[in-house]
Amino acid sequence: MTRKQAVDTSSVTTHTETAPRGKPRKRRGVAWRSLLVPLLAIVTAFIISALVIVITDESVYVAFRDGIGRGIVQAFSVIGRAYWAFFTGAFGNPVQIVEAAFSGDANQIRRAVYPITETLRISTPYIFAGLAVALGFQGGLFNIGAEGQYFVGGLITVFVGYSITGLPQIIHLPLALLAGMVGGALWGAIPGYLKAKTGAHEVINTIMMNYVAYRLAEFLLDVGGPMARGDGRPVSPEIQPSAFLPQFFPNRVDLRVNAGIFLALGAAWVVWWLLYKTTLGFEIRTVGKNPDAARYAGISVPRIMVITMALSGALAGLSASTDILGVLHFMPNAFFSGYGFDAIALALLGNSHPAGVVLASLLFGAISAGARNMQGIAHVPIDITSILQGLIIVFVAAPEIIRMLYRMREPKESEELALAQG
C-alpha cells in the first residue's frame, strides 16, 4: 500500500512529500532519468553563478553607462572569460594539450595537463569521504563524523609513516594506509556501538566524536606535543619516502596527482561490489531500508550497525591517508579539511551510489581547480566555489525547482510501477 501513500501525498491536501530517497535501480530508463535532474542542476547552477559574476563585476557597470548594447556585450565577455578560465583551470586548454602532445616536449606536456591533474588530486579525498557517508546512508546511518574519522585516520597514518623506518615501500605504504583505515574504523565504530547497544543517536555522537578528534589532534601536534616536530612548528615530522603514495610526476612539486586516485576508484568499485554483490551488503542495505524486516530475516541489526559505521569510518580514514601519503607528507595541526562535511553533499549528490559519488567528487574537484584559475586569470573571487557547490546541492536536494524551471512532467514514478495494484 505504500504506493498509494506515495500517490496520496502528491494529492490534494497539505504537505509536499520529500522525494523518496532514490535507490539505484537496475532499469536503464530510470537510471537515465535519475541523471537528468543532477545535470540540469549543474547547468542551472552555472547560469545563476554567471549572473553573480556579472553583477559583481565593475567593468560591466562601466560599459552599461556607455549604452545597453555595450553593457550586454561586456557582460557576456566577462562571463565568457571567467568560464573559459574555469574550464581551462579544471580540464586544461584543449589547444595547448593537442599542441603539447604533438611537440613531444615533456615540460610542455606537463604544463598542459597540470589543470586536470589538480582536478584529480582534489577529487581523491572527496571520493573516499563521499563513499564513507554514502555507505552509512545505505545502512540507514547518518555519519556526520567523517571529519573526525578523517583526523584520527590521518594521525595514525602519519605516525606509522614517520616513526617506522627501514621498511621497503611495498610493506610500509600498505601498512600506513591500513593504519588510516584502522584509525577511522575505530572512530566510526564507537558511535556505531553506542547506537547498537544503547540507541544513542549516531548524529549526536559522531558530532561529539569530531570535537574529541580535533582536540586530540591539537594535543598531539601542537608545539611541544608528542607528535610535533622538534623545530617549534605545530606539524608532525615528515613521513618516510617508503610510505609515499607514488606521484605520477615525482620530480615536479606542482604536479601532485598520485596513485591515490586509483585507490579511490578501486575503493568505489569495492564498495559497489560489497553493497550489491555480497551477503554483507545485502544485510547492510536491508538494515538501512527496514530494520524490522532485517530482524525478522535473522540479521543481527546491532552487529550490522557497528560494521557499517566501522567501514564508513575506514573509508573516511583512507581519505586522510591518501592526502597525507600522496600530497602533504606530514600532518599539520589545525588541519581543518572540511572533507567530512562536503562528503555529506557528495553522498546526497551521488544518490548514495558509489558511481554517483565518484561523479560528484570529480565535479567538486573540477569546481575547486577551476575556481582557482578563475580567480587567478579572470579575477573572480574564489568564493564562487561555494556559490556553485551550494546551488548544485540545493537543486539536487529540491528537484522540484528544476522540474518547474524546465517544465518537466512530474515523474509519476508510481504510475509506471503501479501495475499490479488495483
Binding site: 500500500m1 505504500t2 504506493r3 498509494k4 501513500q5 500517490v7 496520496d8 501525498t9 502528491s10 494529492s11 490534494v12 491536501t13 497539505t14 535507490k23 537496475k26 532499469r27 554483490k277 555480497t278 551477503t279 554483507l280 545485502f282 536491508t286 531500508k289 527496514n290 524490522d292 524486516a293 530482524r295 525478522y296 530475516a297 535473522g298 540479521i299 543481527s300 509519476k412 508510481s414 504510475e415 509506471e416 510501477l417 503501479a418 501495475l419 499490479a420 495494484q421 488495483g422
Partner: protein
Amino acid sequence: MPPVLELKGITKRFPGVLANDHIDLRLEEGHVLSLLGENGAGKSTLMNILYGLYDQDEGDVYIRGEKVVINAPNDAIRQGIGMVHQHFMLVPVLTVTENVMLGMESMKRAGFLDRETAAGRIREISDRYGLDVDPDAVIEDLPVGIQQRVEIIKLLYRNADILILDEPTAVLTPQEVDGLFEVIRSLIAQGKSVVFISHKLREVLEISDQIVVLRRGRVVGATTPDESNERDLAAMMVGRDVILSVPKTPREPEDVILSVKGLFVRGDQGKMAVDGISFEIRGGEILGVAGVQGNGQTELVEALTGLRSVEGGRIMIAGKDRANATPRTITEAGTAHIPEDRQRDGLVLDYSVADNLILNTYYLPPQAKGLVMQETAITERAEQLVAEYDVRTPGISTPAGNLSGGNQQKVIVARELSRPVHLIIASQPTRGLDVGSIEYIHSQVIRKRDGGAAVLVVSAELDEVMSLSDRIIVMFEGKIMGAVPADGATKAELGLLMAGVTSATTATTS
C-alpha cells in the same frame, strides 16, 4: 437527465500491462456505485485517473453530461469530486478543524486563522449528515472510524458532490462498518453520489444501488444487489467458481512438533502479555488461535519466532528448547513465519520481488557462495517461485511495494512455504486480502498440513480460524480460556470464550 458522472472508454496502459481497457461507467445522482474487483483488477487505477493522479491514454470523463479534463486533484475537487483514500491523510497532532482547514485556510485580518468560522461549518456539516464529529478533538485521540469521518468532512467542506471511498471498510471493525453505512445512506439521502470501492461481497450487496465488477482491467459485469448474490459476484470477480471455504480432509495427527510449556512473555507496556500458557501442535494438524486482538496473540507469535524475549517457560520445536533463541536459529530449525504486519516485518518494500524471496535465506547456498551472492541462482529461484505461487507481478525485479496486498502476501507465502519446514506460524495470514488470494493462501497452508507440517494460525477473523483449523484455542488476557475441536465449534461458544467466560461455565451451560 444525464448521469452525475460518466466515464467513456477509459484506457490506461502501463509498460507491459493494460490496467484499464475501455472502461465505461455511469453513476446516477443519489446512487451508490460499487466498484468490485480483486486487487490488481484496475479499480484504484481508474479512480486515480478520475482524481487526476494519473492521465488516461484514451477515453473521456463527463460530469453531468459535460466533458471535463482532470489533470490534478485540484481539478477534480473543482468538479466536485472528492476521494477518501485507504490511508488517511490527517495530521495526528492537529484538531479536526485544523485538519479540515489545511490547504484552504480561511483567514481573519492580519493573517490569523479563522478557526471559529471553520469549526462552525464543520459542526453544521457534522449535524446535517449525522457524522457526530467534534471539531475540537485532536485526531490522534479519535478512533479510526471517526478519523474516516473527518476525511469525509474534508470533502464535504470542499463542496464535493461525488465521493469516492477507496476500500473504506478495510480498517474498520464490524460496528464501525455499520456506522459508515449509515453515513453513506445519509449522504445519499441529501443528494450526494458515492463510488464505493471494495472487494468484500457482503458489504457491496448491502450498500449499493449499482455494482460494476472489474477483472484484469475490464468491466466484466454490471448488476444490482437484487439481481445478484455473493456466489455470482465472486465468480465474476475471479473469473471462475470460487470455493468460499477451502475443503480439507480429516488427517491423523503425527508426532508433537511444537510444544509450549508455561510460557510467559511481557508486552510493550511491561505487563505479562502471555501469562503462563501451554499447548502442543502435532504434525499434520492446524491449531487456530482465536481471540479479540490484543489478548497476547501478537506477543505469543513474536516469542515463538524469536522476535521477543521469553520471561519463563519452554518452547520445544522438534524436541529442542528454542525459548530466547535468535530468529535465525528458529528459522533454520525448520520454522516458517508469516508475520502479522507484512509490510513492516515481512518485506522490504523497496527491494525487488526476487530479493524479498530470499530475505531470510540470502546467505545459504545456492543463493550465496561464501560472501558472494549468486545472481543467477537468485533469479532462477524467483522466476520459479513467482510462477509456482502465482504471484502477479510485471517481473521479478519489480519492487515489492508496487504489488497489491494479495501479491505481497503471496511473495511471503512463497518464501516461507517453499523452504523445507515442519512448523508454520501464520499470523493474520489473509488480513486485507481479496477472495481469490484468501482461497489460494488457505489452500497452500492446508497443502503443507497435509504434507505433515504443524501449523499455528492466529487470526482476528473467526470465520478464518473456524474454517482452517483442526483444533482451536481461545486466548483472553494472555491465558488460554479453552481448547475445542474445530468440528462442531460454534461462533456462540467461541464468542463466550473470547469474552473471557471460562470453559467450565460453558461446559455446564451447554
